[in-house]
């Protein structure tokens, strides 16, 4: 507070100045008697001025005042007495006296000697000048972060606000951390449209956007779907996995679910990725198949990506476990259709698995086992976010094989599997990180049924191995500019052999895979974000196949379970090189007050394939290779409209293509000239959020495909034309989802899909049902997690039975001494519908600073006899059913530290 003041004294008038004050001294009166008193030779000089406290109530009242004081100054210059001569009110008087008593003077001199003096001092209180008006140039984002499920505040969450820089200026970032009440206030935010990132604590990175005006204090409330924040000292574990659709892209339809819920779903056995089979749009797989049937597409049409790197499959052989250790799963998204331009080479859905390292500083890990497998993970995270981690898992079922009857192990396949992952992450600064990851998985599966007749002895063997090594560089500039580059290297080997008597049919494939996925996202304006990238994949493979043309069976083959394949023998060995380099671009346009979002995209997919053989091996014909090149343009368009805050509609249309299987380009067993299969996906849907805890979605879809590889129906096909690209497919249906996340740890959803998937094997035949068509698929999941560590959950599934082709008769094959079936309408009958109830109970106990988790997962709790397959008597006069698994209790134990 600035003040002006002045004072006077009797003997003289002086002007004193200082930086903050203008002082006037005045001689109050002449010396009373020059002859009787010593002569004042030097007036006192104010050496230390103390500013009086302006009484606040007087400031508030807008009053100023002058107080005249009488000060007695001794010979040392100290004020020994002070009194009010002219009052301006008690408040002003007191303030003036308090200040004046602290003044220090050079003492007055009389005849050259210091001496005491009494002076009058006028203390002037002047109202401070009103401050210059401040034009705010920043804003404040404040609010609270809460757990959506419990409503509890989340402490320790970092709220970072990235503002795009002005033209030519660098972007700015401000942040704050939520307090115990979940509150935060980020000051100094550059106004405009900003990106808000919530991270830290129990929270994985989540982004949203806000718009702030200069000087505005925007109060927000973020309710995030997350597990409850860990208690102090509680270690991070895979229960904290956050399963969300990647924010980097908003698909028109994508299923998301929190990992906490996912691991609580019966049947998953704590394996997050197995929850995929309970999501809408996903058909029930045949038991033990591990097939992923999404919207009636062939299992090989659905692509699986880990951090953008394609994996050969999602599940281990038998479908018991996924191939990615759950400890390192950050998120999961299933896009059943209408995927954006970044994704191609498939006509079905896309499963996106985002990996991660440890989320808590220090060493943490898990050790667990159940009937199916044993697993362990260990990771270390530094304060700066860098980490190293590794995990491994191997199946245990084969360990128990020695305890079983020989006839059981001969008939029932005992899968052996393992997978592992090692990751290292580095924070490079400037919002850049790099993860270096190695992933591997393997399966061994073998069974044999001996027979006194060697011609009837059968044996199955499957070996599947895959390896991936990749680096993932990501940089988020904070202004909407994102760069992501993922170069990767992989090796796959698969060997499948089936023996019927002396005839062994086998397929062995060894593929070296190289790839690169790159993404550049740029916010071109407040209303548009541009994304461009490249998706390159090179497959260098060598293959060997021998045996029956009928093995492995293809979709559409008319046969019955257990039927021996044709006993003719072929052999082929070939090499192929496939190269696909697909640049893509898409724009996300936010318009109509950001209610309408339009995402046009374009994917250009040039593709080349060379193969070592054009025709079968023949000593009389020169060995000629083949080269196939084509170019597809795959436009995509998606749009979603927020009609109201609680109602949105969406739709998309796009073209897709799929590479022919390497197995299919054999000149003996397939066709080296097979083109890519192509398809169109159209979908439209509506989403309703009547209350935050309830989501209701419905999506209709129509997909078509053409140029599918099918067995030739020509009785005299040309050489190297065992397969022809004459197949067509069409799928139409609707899927619905009702999901609730209620208070008190209650959650659940009901997913229903009504669809009809059909195939046409050549233009001159009728449409038929797809082998894996399921008209109705209903999955209902409900669970409850208590505050005391108890989990209870259940899953109910209903699915239409798979189509099958009925056997209407048989004839005796005297050459092979067996009956051969005569078939009715292709896929003209169905298996009985599948109905199953699964239950799970789990309990988490704290043991020191660690946790012990025990759970009981009971599949088919009602022991219902579901039908998995039809089986016929040898003469085909009797038909029975192979039942699905009976009640299956699985107990698991896991220690988290």
């Amino acid at each position: 507070m600035k003040r002006l003041f002045s004072f006077t004294f009797a003997a003289a008038s002086l002007l004193l100045s200082s930086a903050d004050a203008r002082v006037a001294l005045a001689q109050r009166s002449a010396a009373r008697a020059e002859a009787q008193v010593p002569t004042l030779t030097r007036p006192p000089e104010l050496l230390r001025f103390v500013e009086a406290v302006y009484p606040p109530e007087e400031i508030a009242a807008g009053r100023s005042a002058n107080v005249v004081l009488e000060l007695t100054i001794d010979g040392t210059g100290r004020v020994t007495d002070a009194s009010v001569v002219e009052s301006a009110g008690a408040a002003f008087d007191a303030a003036a006296l308090a200040a004046a008593r602290q003044f220090e003077f050079r003492p007055a001199e009389f005849d050259g000697q210091p001496g005491a003096i009494r002076i009058h001092y006028q203390y002037v209180f002047t109202l401070p000048a009103p401050p210059e008006p401040v034009v705010p140039d920043t804003a404040i984002l404040a609010g609270v972060v809460r757990d959506e499920a419990s409503g509890q505040p989340l402490a320790g969450v970092t709220v970072a606000v990235a503002s795009p820089g002005a033209e030519g200026a660098a972007p700015t970032t401000a942040s704050a951390t939520t307090d115990a009440e979940g509150r935060f206030a980020v000051e100094g935010v550059v106004p405009g449209r900003v990106t808000v990132t919530l991270s830290g604590g129990p929270l994985s990175s989540i982004q949203t956007e806000e718009t702030l005006a200069a000087g505005e204090r925007l109060e927000v409330s973020y309710d995030v779907a997350l597990p409850p924040p860990p208690e102090e000292g509680e270690p991070t574990d895979d229960m904290e996995i956050v399963v969300v659709a990647p924010e980097i892209r908003r698909e028109v339809v994508a299923s998301e679910i929190s990992a906490e819920q996912a691991t609580s779903v019966p049947g998953t056995g704590g394996d997050v990725l197995r929850v995929v089979e309970s999501l809408p749009g996903v058909g029930r797989p045949a038991v033990g198949s591990g097939q992923l049937v999404v919207w009636g597409a062939s299992p090989e049409d659905t692509r699986v990506y880990l951090d953008g790197v394609p994996l050969p499959r999602l599940y281990h052989e038998g479908g018991l476990r996924s191939v990615v250790h759950p400890a390192f799963v950050e998120s999961l998204a299933l896009i059943p259709g209408g995927a954006g331009a970044p994704y191609g080479r498939g006509l079905g859905g896309v499963v996106l698995v985002e990996g991660r390292g440890p989320t808590e500083e220090g060493f943490h890990g898990t050790i667990g086992a159940d009937l199916l497998d044993a697993s362990a993970s260990l990771g270390y995270r530094r304060a700066n976010g860098s980490y190293q981690a590794a995990a491994g898992r191997f199946g245990l079922l084969d360990s128990f094989a020695g305890f079983l009857d020989d006839d059981v192990t001969e008939f029932v396949p005992i899968p052996r599997f393992w997978d592992g992952q090692a990751r290292a992450g580095f924070v490079l600064g400037g919002g850049a990180t790099i993860d270096i990851v190695g992933v591997l998985g393997g399966d061994r599966y073998e069974r044999g049924v001996p027979n006194p007749d060697p011609a009837l002895a059968t044996r199955d063997q499957r070996d599947l191995d895959f390896y991936r090594l990749y680096a993932r560089y990501r940089r988020d500039a904070g202004d909407g500019t994102t760069v992501e580059i993922v170069p990767w290297l992989g090796y796959d080997r698969s060997y499948r052999a089936t023996s019927f008597g002396d005839l062994t049919s086998s397929v062995e494939a060894r593929n070296v895979r190289l790839g690169l996925r790159a993404l550049y996202a740029y916010r071109a304006a407040d209303w548009v974000t541009l994304r461009a990238g490249i998706d390159a994949e090179i497959v260098l493979g060598d293959y060997q196949r021998q045996g029956s043309l009928g093995l492995p069976a293809r979709e559409g083959d008319i046969r019955v379970f257990g039927q021996p394949p044709p006993d003719t023998l072929s052999f082929d060995t070939w090499e192929s090189q496939q190269i696909g380099v697909a640049p893509w671009i898409e724009a996300r346009i936010d318009t109509w007050n950001e209610r309408l979002h339009i995402t046009p995209g374009l994917r250009l997919d040039p593709y080349a394939r060379s193969a070592s053989r054009r025709v079968p091996v023949d000593a009389t014909t020169p060995e000629l290779g083949t080269f196939v090149y084509d170019f597809t343009v795959e436009p995509r368009l998606a749009a979603d409209l927020d009609v109201t805050d609680w109602l949105s509609v969406r739709g998309s249309i796009g073209r897709y293509a799929r590479l022919p299987s390497s197995d299919d380009v054999s000149p003996v067993f397939g066709n080296p000239a097979l083109p890519r299969a192509r398809g169109t996906q159209i979908l439209a849907g509506v989403a309703v959020h009547p209350i935050p805890a309830l989501e209701i979605e419905a999506t209709g879809f129509l997909t078509t495909s053409e140029a599918l590889a099918t067995r030739t129906t020509d009785p005299t096909p040309l050489q190297a034309r065992a397969l022809e690209a004459l197949g067509e497919g069409r799928v139409k249906g609707i899927q619905g989802l009702v999901r609730a996340n209620l208070d008190h740890g209650l959650f659940g959803w009901v997913a229903y899909t009504l669809s009809r998937a059909e195939r046409k094997d050549s233009p001159d035949v009728d449409w038929r049902l797809f082998d894996l068509d399921q008209t109705h698929v209903l999955t209902a999941v409900a669970g409850w997690t208590s505050e005391f560590g108890l989990e209870l959950s259940g899953r109910f599934r209903f699915a239409s039975g798979f189509p099958r082709t009925d056997v209407i008769g048989a004839y005796y094959d005297a050459a092979r001494d067996r009956f051969q079936p005569l078939f009715g309408e292709h896929n003209g009958i169905r298996l009985k519908s599948f109905v199953q109830l699964d239950l799970r109970v789990g309990y988490t106990a704290e043991v020191g600073e660690s946790e012990l988790v025990v759970y009981l997962d009971v599949q088919n709790a009602t022991n219902r006899e579901n039908v998995e397959e039809l089986i016929y008597s040898p003469d085909y006069t009797d038909r029975r059913t192979i039942r699905s698994l009976p009640i299956l209790p699985v107990v698991g134990l896991q220690w988290r530290f």
Binding site: V412, N451, G550, T621, A815, D817, I871, P889
Partner: protein, 347 residues
């Protein structure tokens, strides 16, 4: 404890497969048990005599008239059965009649090696098409259709006559080598049938014998076939692949010496693209008018040098006549069979 409850899941999984209570060794209705072609391997144009073994619950059917025909239509690759659906249905143009009767003789179609063999067929536009794939013995087969009346109407059975066509996709040297060293298949012979009673007593069962069994008696039946050499031994009367009419005329000069057992044969391995010598696997089918055989089929693989196959049998508990049949098949399509009449009577 050997079988803990721990692996309940796997144990019960085995129980998921139903037991189909069907005894294939029991003849419950009229049916063809075997068809034999003589010779069992023929060139196109060569005449082959076909004989069917037909059984019914009362015993062997000897005077049944069968409708014999060749299938002359190849099946599309999309059809996974052994013969085309049109041939099964007897559609016009798909079959070529041979004759009617308990047996029939007919020349193998001239086009057999082009339709069912290694010679590339002509496609509709005149280009060379895809030849048929060989079976796992390297051979090709001409389907033979046999229709016969049953109580329910007409039934059909198929046989496949092995056709001698040479090899596909090999050079002239290999083709010549194959012609010299591959010896056509001959039908096997049932050298002996023996029964072993409880206690170990063994009895030969001659062709016209009618052995007596006590009700519920447990025996073991043995079928024997001649032992065939696999290694070259010039002068043993059998021409094996390592012998030719040049280096061993005693065995291989026409008519070459044959062995009606598990023969050695010359095989071209399409994977290794080289020749090897294999021995035929042998299969025995056991059928009867009453349940009793432990196995419906037994056999010996090509790696095992054994010339017999055994099968336990339990006689019916009620006295009366009983017929059993044994059918011996080699893996190249040769067939031999014998019916054995029994009397089940209290001792």
């Amino acid at each position: 404890m050997r079988r803990p409850v721990l692996l309940l899941s796997i144990l019960v999984a085995a129980g998921c497969v139903p037991e189909l209570d069907v005894d294939e060794s029991v003849v419950e209705a009229r049916r063809v048990l075997a068809i034999r072609g003589e010779p069992p391997e023929a060139r196109p144009g060569e005449v082959v005599a076909y004989t069917a073994l037909v059984a019914e619950p009362s015993g062997t059917v000897t005077s049944l008239t069968l409708d014999w025909s060749y299938c002359v239509e190849s099946k599309p690759l999309a059809e996974l059965g052994p013969v085309s659906a049109n041939c099964v249905a007897g559609s016009d143009g798909a079959i070529a009649p041979i004759g009617e009767g308990p047996t029939a003789s007919g020349a193998v179609p001239i086009e057999a090696c082009r339709v069912f063999g290694p010679e590339p067929p002509l496609s509709e536009d005149g280009e060379a098409g895809r030849p048929a794939d060989p079976d796992f013995t390297g051979g090709y087969r001409q389907p033979v259709r046999a229709g016969f009346p049953t109580d329910a109407g007409t039934d059909v059975a198929f046989f496949e006559e092995r056709i001698f066509c040479g090899l596909a996709g090999v050079g002239s040297d290999d083709a010549i080598e194959f012609q010299r060293r591959y010896h056509r298949n001959v039908n096997p012979e049932i050298e002996a049938v023996e029964l072993v009673r409880e206690g170990g007593a063994t009895e030969d069962v001659a062709i016209d014998d009618v052995p007596v069994l006590a009700p519920g008696e447990r025996i073991e039946l043995i079928v024997r076939w001649p032992a065939c050499p696999i290694d070259a031994a010039c002068g043993d009367g059998v021409c094996v692949p390592d012998e030719t009419d040049t280096d061993c005329p005693d065995d291989c000069a026409a008519p070459a010496g044959t062995c009606p057992g598990a023969e050695a044969y010359f095989y071209f391995d399409p994977a290794l693209r080289e020749f090897e010598v294999r021995r035929e696997a042998m299969r025995v089918s056991w059928t009867a008018t009453s349940a009793g055989f432990a196995e419906a089929r037994t056999g010996v693989d090509g790696l095992t040098d054994v010339n017999e196959s055994r099968n336990p049998f339990v006689a019916p508990s009620t006295p009366g006549p009983l017929t059993t049949w044994v059918v011996l098949r080699d893996e190249r399509g040769g067939v031999a069979f014998r019916a054995i009449e029994w009397t089940v009577a209290a001792p």
